[in-house]
């Protein structure tokens, strides 16, 4: 057993998630290495437990596994998961996700929190845009709503806490920051994240064959586009306040 394995001997930890599910914790907190373990676990479970698994919910450091109670029971699935997860390798080449580039129109008409973020962090609006576009983000988790990807981690210079009063409606495509995370609102919804711009890229398209182009483990980069480009690409210029 390697050092890192013995240090992490509390994991994987299996906990009941109800009569038809268990949740597996693969580590603590938010880190690329733990999230990579989650991905490896998803792959291993898909390969080895597909005869009994009904659904999976990967997140930052955990994986919830739904199973068919007519084909297995809790002691058996725990045993099989323990076996499957005991020899996980997270350096698997196949686990490197896709790279996505998302155009963003950064402007106060569609990003009402842009100026405030600049002000509270003692920098210019251009600095905020630069900091947001310089980073490559990882999709740590998908959820909350269809196609909503939790991306991390945001440059410390522009980290901003959630709003005290969430907005009642945020336009689909809004690009947002909350603490060390950034995300695109795939559909119009209420929300408490700070809005800095908007993308014309559709991240949840119920009419298409795939629900979302993004998957946990993928990489996302944002780049700044002009209003003309944004409108040309079909972006929605509705003002948000």
């Amino acid at each position: 057993m390697t050092n890192s394995a013995s240090k992490a001997s509390n994991f994987p930890k299996l906990v009941s998630a109800g009569a038809d599910a268990v949740i597996v914790y693969l580590g603590e907190g938010i880190s690329v290495s733990v999230n990579q373990q989650v991905l490896a676990a998803v792959k291993a479970v898909e390969e080895q437990l597909s005869d009994v698994v009904l659904d999976l919910v990967p997140s930052y450091n955990s994986l919830m596994v739904y199973y068919d109670v007519l084909r297995t029971d809790e002691p058996e699935i725990r045993e099989r998961l323990r076996k499957t997860l005991s020899d996980l390798t997270s350096d698997d080449q196949e686990l490197i996700g896709k790279h996505h580039r998302i155009p963003v129109y950064y402007d106060e008409s569609v990003g009402p929190d842009l100026a405030r973020i600049a002000e509270t962090n003692n920098c210019s609006v251009d600095d905020v845009i630069k900091a947001h576009t310089e980073q490559t983000y990882r999709v740590y988790a998908m959820g909350f709503a269809p196609g909503f990807a939790y991306l991390g981690e945001v440059n410390e210079k522009i980290r901003t806490p959630r709003l005290d009063n969430p907005r009642k409606r945020i336009t689909a495509g809004s690009v947002a920051i909350a603490e060390s995370q950034t995300a695109v609102y795939p559909s119009s919804s209420p929300g408490g994240w700070n809005i800095i711009g908007r993308t014309s890229t559709q991240l949840y398209d119920p009419s298409s064959g795939t629900i979302s182009p993004l998957n946990v483990g993928d990489e996302v980069e944002f780049y700044s586009v002009s209003k003309e480009q944004f409108v040309d690409d079909g972006g929605d210029t509705e003002t948000l306040s």
């Binding site: 109800g18 998803v42 659904d55 269809p146 119920p206 629900i211």
Partner: protein, 317 residues
């Protein structure tokens, strides 16, 4: 074909729900009261998954253009066919041109209307369950509930013998239910006092409850464990937000959440909880996961429920 005259507060197509899309953030959907839903299909010899209409709080009216057979289960609603009273929890014949009307729910919240052969609705990602929040499913595929003038088709089938659900199997929705809690998730991180409070005090269902969650009010539950990184939330998970008032996550729940959870409600009892009207008292009791799982297995076997992952082998595709 059946035409909606009046949907009431909310009427929406439901089958048993979507499986295999949680990793994309798409929730399950499906009937809030699986017990009542499955009985309606069984009364008509339908597949367990045949699409029905979930009617919230009654006030529903529809007209049929052909002969068929239907059943209504769940909430206590006064049921009439061209003004003639019918019984719930049994199948009945409908003639072309007749109007079926539901009064307002006097007990329970959700009534299920099934037609023999099931309503024919185009599935979206393996299911026609309406999830308004996800803009998916339902008659138009976009998550919208049914509205007046909507026409829903079904295959006419040979009529069945009349059948009804025995009294022993019909829940009394007015009685205070005792709901099983399977300890899990952050159960061990809750102080003993919170675990005991939840299972020994009365809670009241609040009017803010909906298809995402049943919100309770009562003695606040303390949590002194560490903050949580967002993780999967099951149907029936008991979330405890900062104010200590528990929320039972239901079929249209968000797939990830960051609040600590005491555990998960016994799926067998969840439908009973979904039928509690605002202001109704509920009580909770601990149940072993093993026992709940046996109950769930028997329940699925009885109704011939066979679940499959609709996303296919690759859950991440």
């Amino acid at each position: 074909m059946m035409r909606i005259i009046e949907p009431g507060m909310r009427a929406a197509i439901q089958d048993f729900g979507r499986f295999g899309y949680l990793s994309k953030g798409l929730t399950r959907g499906g009937p809030m009261d699986e017990h009542a839903f499955l009985w309606a299909n069984r009364l008509l010899n339908n597949d367990f998954n045949a699409a029905q209409i979930e009617v919230t709080l009654g006030g529903f009216e529809a007209e049929f253009d052909c002969d068929c057979q239907c059943a209504v289960t769940g909430a206590g609603v006064e049921l009439t066919l061209d003004g003639e009273t019918l019984n719930n929890w049994q199948n009945f014949k409908v003639r072309a041109g007749q109007r079926l009307k539901m009064g307002y729910a006097t007990a329970g919240v959700r009534a299920y209307l099934a037609v023999q052969g099931g309503f024919q609705v185009e599935p979206k990602w393996g299911s026609c369950a309406t999830v308004t929040r996800d803009a998916v499913g339902g008659l138009h595929g976009d998550g919208s509930p049914l509205k007046a003038g909507d026409e829903i088709s079904f295959n006419q089938q040979e009529l069945q013998m009349s059948r009804r659900v025995g009294w022993a199997y019909r829940p009394n929705y007015e009685k205070t239910p005792v709901i099983g809690l399977i300890p899990g998730f952050q159960y061990d991180a809750f102080p003993m006092s919170a675990r005991e409070t939840f299972c020994y005090e009365d809670y009241e269902v609040t009017k803010d409850s909906d298809r995402m969650g049943i919100r309770l009010s009562g003695k606040a539950l303390e949590y002194d464990g560490e903050g949580l990184v967002s993780e999967g939330v099951n149907v029936g998970s008991v979330q405890v937000p900062a104010n200590g008032q528990p929320i039972i996550m239901m079929h249209d729940r968000q797939t990830l959440g960051g609040y600590p959870k005491l555990g998960t409600i016994n799926p067998f009892d969840l439908g009973r909880l979904a039928q509690c009207q605002p202001g109704q008292t509920v009580r909770f009791t601990r149940i072993e996961g093993k026992v709940a799982q046996q109950q769930l297995r028997r329940f699925y076997q009885f109704f011939n429920v066979r679940l499959t992952c609709q996303a296919g082998d690759n859950l991440r595709s």
